[in-house]
């Protein structure tokens, strides 16, 4: 039985006079990986960032429509944005670890959010690292600077760090676009493990990756949702001619 986690209803997003999303409606299912694909500038990232309200910080942002997470309108004026972002974690295209030690990166958020007990913090660090299967690589060097890790390890540590605040949903904005194939496949393996506990949305430019990791795929073009269906359906038998052209490389 699949359940709807996020309901996006007639969402339009504007930055000043530029419309980034035009009347997008879709439902994201719980504990599934949903991929957003489409050519550059089609609104994938805007869509992703409207789910944890990171767009709010961009000057000139306006939106119409509704985004419901667990049937709660996250753009309601009573919503605490800071709290929302704990529920909806995000991993960025470029790893953005703090210039601190690996351990300090992991306990950064829990510590600020009030976890004071040292053993509890250590527990959190170990738990998220095990979840992201990076524990064996970092357990002996927790006090080293996080920036000494390889690019792939840094990105996986970013994912681990995102899990430290116990989110329900993970947003990933091209998490492996700057990584080598081995690191990429490690992150993809990770997604299979993580989707048991989290609802994952991922933006990617890599069609093979989309086909490999996702359960559902949404194809966006010029701010509009062209097609949204099961990944197997979209990649084998797309309903829309435009989607087919994009996937086969005739366009985009």
């Amino acid at each position: 039985m699949k359940e709807v986690k996020i309901k996006i209803k007639n969402l339009s997003v504007y930055f000043n006079y530029i419309q980034a999303l035009n009347d997008v409606s879709l439902e994201i299912f719980e504990n599934k990986v949903t991929c957003l694909i489409g050519p550059s500038g089609c609104g994938k990232t805007s869509l992703l960032r409207s789910l944890n309200r990171m767009n709010d910080m961009i000057y000139g942002f306006r939106m119409k429509g509704e985004v419901l997470i667990d049937d709660i309108d996250i753009y309601d004026k009573d919503i605490d944005v800071v709290n929302l972002r704990r529920l909806v974690g995000m991993v960025f295209q470029q790893s953005n670890l703090f210039p601190k030690s690996i351990y300090d990166n992991l306990i950064f958020a829990p510590k600020i959010l009030g976890v004071k007990d040292k053993s509890e913090l250590e527990e959190i660090a170990e738990k998220v690292c095990t979840q992201t299967s990076i524990w064996d690589e970092v357990k002996d060097r927790l006090n080293e600077s996080a920036l000494n890790l390889s690019a792939g390890q840094q990105q996986r540590l970013c994912i681990a760090r995102a899990l430290t605040v116990n989110p329900d949903i993970l947003l990933m904005d091209e998490p492996s676009s700057s990584l080598d194939p081995v690191s990429t496949s490690k992150i993809e393996d990770l997604l299979f493990d993580l989707k048991r506990n989290y609802t994952i949305l991922i933006v990617t430019h890599n069609m093979q990756q989309a086909a490999r990791v996702s359960d559902y795929t949404a194809y966006l073009y010029l701010g509009q949702l062209v097609e949204y269906d099961k990944t197997t359906k979209i990649f084998t038998n797309p309903a829309n001619k435009q989607t087919e052209d994009f996937l086969t490389g005739r366009f985009g």
Binding site: M57, F98, F108
Partner: protein, 309 residues
């Protein structure tokens, strides 16, 4: 057509055009060298006169006693009350202005909207360009009685009053260096913190300030250097009594105020004259070291932040 291009490229440089080019180059080079030359000359002159002070009066005289009585019959040339006076004005001034300047810098870099910043920044720049005599006048005319009553001070003009005056000119220095340091912190670190559900103020405290702390401290050190070297405000507001005291509410006399107040009336070639050069050179060396330290810190922070991007 081809021929024309050919003749254009093949045109030989004449002796005259080469000469003009060289002349222009050396003209600009000399202009650049003049500032270096002046600086070297100033240093040489100061060191020569300071050296005369050491050979005439002896370096012990400057640090042995605790009195500055250059014009009495039994003249004493101790630099110690002057150093104390300088520190008693410069340190409180640095503390006050660091507090306000850092808050202002954080506000400008992290909190103020673009438009607010554009309104506030010119005012701060005007503040930085305000003639120090104007600030000295204001603090003398308006501030002195107020602060005397507030702190119940024995004298109207004292170290604390001078420190308040100094802090006015230090705030722009410290706030703009703080702002620069905070702005140099890569934006993706802020985004990382936001995405973890950390509030803006916790983000500033735990991400931005730790990453920029060395730049902020360089600003404080630079402000301290400026406080030591500032003359007019302390001359007007400190009371100018070369007292050996640690009480902020007493009158003090700084190194700079001593030079400014006495050099105009001293007999050239007298021990007093040389001693003023000695304390001036002492001040120059101290401020030079302070500026060097803060430059080094800023440079190191830039490199570190560049690596992060």
């Amino acid at each position: 057509m081809t021929k024309k291009y050919h003749s254009f490229y093949a045109k030989k440089r004449t002796f005259k055009s080469t000469l003009v080019e060289k002349a222009v180059k050396y003209f600009f080079f000399l202009n650049g060298m003049i500032s270096v030359l002046f600086l070297v000359l100033i240093f040489l002159f100061l060191f020569r006169e300071a050296f005369s002070a050491i050979s005439n009066i002896g370096i012990n005289e400057f640090f042995k006693n605790v009195e500055w009585y250059p014009t009495s019959e039994d003249s004493r040339y101790s630099i110690i009350p002057l150093i104390l006076g300088t520190l008693l004005t410069a340190i409180p001034a640095t503390i006050i202005s660091s507090f306000l300047g850092i808050i202002l810098g954080i506000y400008l870099s992290e909190i103020a909207s673009g438009r607010t910043r554009e309104i506030i920044k010119p005012f701060i720049e005007i503040f930085a360009g305000l003639p120090t005599v104007v600030i000295g006048f204001l603090i003398l005319a308006v501030g002195s009685t107020f602060f005397q009553e507030l702190f119940n001070a024995g004298t109207r003009l004292n170290a604390l009053l001078a420190a308040f005056g100094l802090s006015i000119i230090l705030i722009p220095t410290i706030s703009s260096l703080t702002e620069d340091a905070l702005r140099a912190v890569p934006n993706n670190l802020r985004m990382a913190s936001y995405a973890l559900g950390i509030s803006k103020f916790a983000m500033i405290k735990n991400v931005v300030i730790p990453a920029a702390i060395s730049g902020v401290s360089a600003g404080i050190i630079l402000g301290f250097g400026r406080a030591i070297g500032e003359t007019m405000i302390v001359l007007m507001a400190s009371g100018n009594a070369a007292e050996l005291t640690l009480n902020l509410l007493h009158s003090v006399r700084t190194i700079t105020a001593t030079i400014a107040g006495e050099l105009g009336e001293v007999a050239i070639g007298s021990p007093h004259y040389y001693s003023l050069f000695f304390i001036g050179t002492f001040l120059l060396i101290i401020t030079f070291i302070i500026n060097l330290i803060s430059e080094l810190i800023i440079e190191r922070m830039r490199k570190k932040l560049k690596k992060m991007n």
